[in-house]
Amino acid sequence: MSLLRVTGLTKRFGTNEVLRSIDLEVRQGERIAILGASGSGKSSLLRCLNFMELPTAGVIELDGQPLGRERRPGERIYRESELTQVRQRIGMVFQQFNLFPHMTAVGNVMEGLRTVRRMPKPAARIRAEAELKRVGLGDKADAYPAHLSGGQKQRVAIARALAMDPEMLLFDEPTSALDPELVGEVLGVIRNLADEGRTMLLVTHELGFAYHVATRVIFLADGTIHESGTPDEVLKNPRQERTRAFLASHKQYSL
């Protein structure tokens, strides 16, 4: 059964339609790389999946349960409590990390456990330290974000998402804000998560990484899924002209 099923997902900002009736199914353990030019709607798609943006139209089902309820044909309303539940089940990692600068690394990782899960402090701390260890930052627990490198910050952000035991992870260009020499350590952590069999959607310009790690690649253009298939199909033998043009313009990222 699919973990997530999206039908007819449409998102408009005012009159600007950035997602046009997208259908997508994500199965347990799938790793989907999302490619597309700037402004094609990649971030909007991810942000709709955990309802950081509310879809204008369309239905999102998690574990077979459609979220929200239909108020009028084609228009759904969502309860805040339902959305906070969903966001706990679908973790998100951002391009700009979005760590909380007034908390230490371990404080960042504990925050969701403490505030959202109401976990007692000692238990949260133990869990958070374990997550930091998993991303190779066991010795940075008490450092503030300002004293961490970009790669370390992004690894803390990943640990923060993992601490909530998400069933699925969304990565929005997790390495785009990093100096080139720091990209590898973050991709390494994501690859480990892939090896654990985690379900993930990853927006990235790292074509080589997408090729080796993704089970499926999606190319977005003008708010629609322009091409979709295995990494070999989409990255090596693209059928669509626009996919080819996009890949040609990203030659610097070799497979």
């Binding site: 805040e80 966001r87 973790g91 998100m92 909380f100 925050e111």
Partner: protein, 219 residues
């Protein structure tokens, strides 16, 4: 003419009572003004109309009327509409607190707005509700940025307490007036009041400079 502070020193008791009165009303107005200001500021930031509209009306009303008028209104007009008496302390505290709430609300709103949208994203992606994200993530960072402005507000509140003398509340200026009229020594009496205010306010003002410098360094 010669300066002669003997009659001022002879009235040290009165001045001490005045200082105590000033500190009392300052403490009341500081707490009420800044905490009510936070509520109003949250309303100014909110997008729900039933929170935003009253908060905006409140700010506009109290920013566009003089505090002295408000104090006199609370003291002389309000008791006619209500079945109970209003003391000078109550009237003055109400006027100053509500006015400070209106001004500090705008400080809070601007401070909250200055926090990067990514902080909200990070908080909400963990499953936090709006109030949780505000309390745990946004406000702690915003307050730090607002501290110099809020301290300036505190200094303004301290000075505004002298308006309470208009309804004969016992505070420093009121006592100065009293001493001046009893001893015919306005120069010495008002100079003494000014000096006492200077002694109270100077450290506060220095504190804002330190805060501003530290903030600049941290950002």
């Amino acid at each position: 003419m010669k300066w002669d502070f003997t009659s001022v020193f002879a009235n040290t008791d009165a001045l001490l009572a005045g200082a105590a009165g000033t500190l009392r009303i300052f403490a009341i107005c500081l707490v009420l003004g800044l905490s009510l200001g936070l509520v109003v500021g949250l309303g100014r930031y909110a997008r729900t109309w039933w929170f935003y509209l009253p908060a905006t009306a409140f700010v506009e009303f109290f920013r566009n009327t003089p505090v002295l008028v408000q104090i006199l209104w609370f003291y002389f007009a309000l008791p006619m509409l209500l079945p109970f008496e209003i003391s000078p302390l109550m009237a003055a505290s109400l006027g100053i607190s509500l006015n400070s709430a209106a001004f500090s609300a705008e400080i809070y709103r601007a401070g909250i707005q200055s926090i990067d949208r990514g902080q909200w994203d990070g908080a909400r992606a963990l499953g936090m509700r709006w109030a949780q994200a505000m309390r745990r993530i946004v406000l702690p960072q915003a307050i730090k940025r607002m501290l110099p402005a809020l301290t300036n507000r505190a200094i303004e509140i301290f000075k505004m307490t002298t308006l309470a003398s208009a309804v004969a509340y016992v505070e420093l200026l009121q006592q100065g007036k009293l001493i001046a009229s009893l001893n015919y020594n306005p120069i010495e009496a008002y100079t003494a009041v000014a000096v006492i205010f200077l002694v109270f306010l100077w450290p506060l003002v220095q504190f804002t400079y330190v805060l501003e410098r530290r903030l600049k360094r941290d950002e």
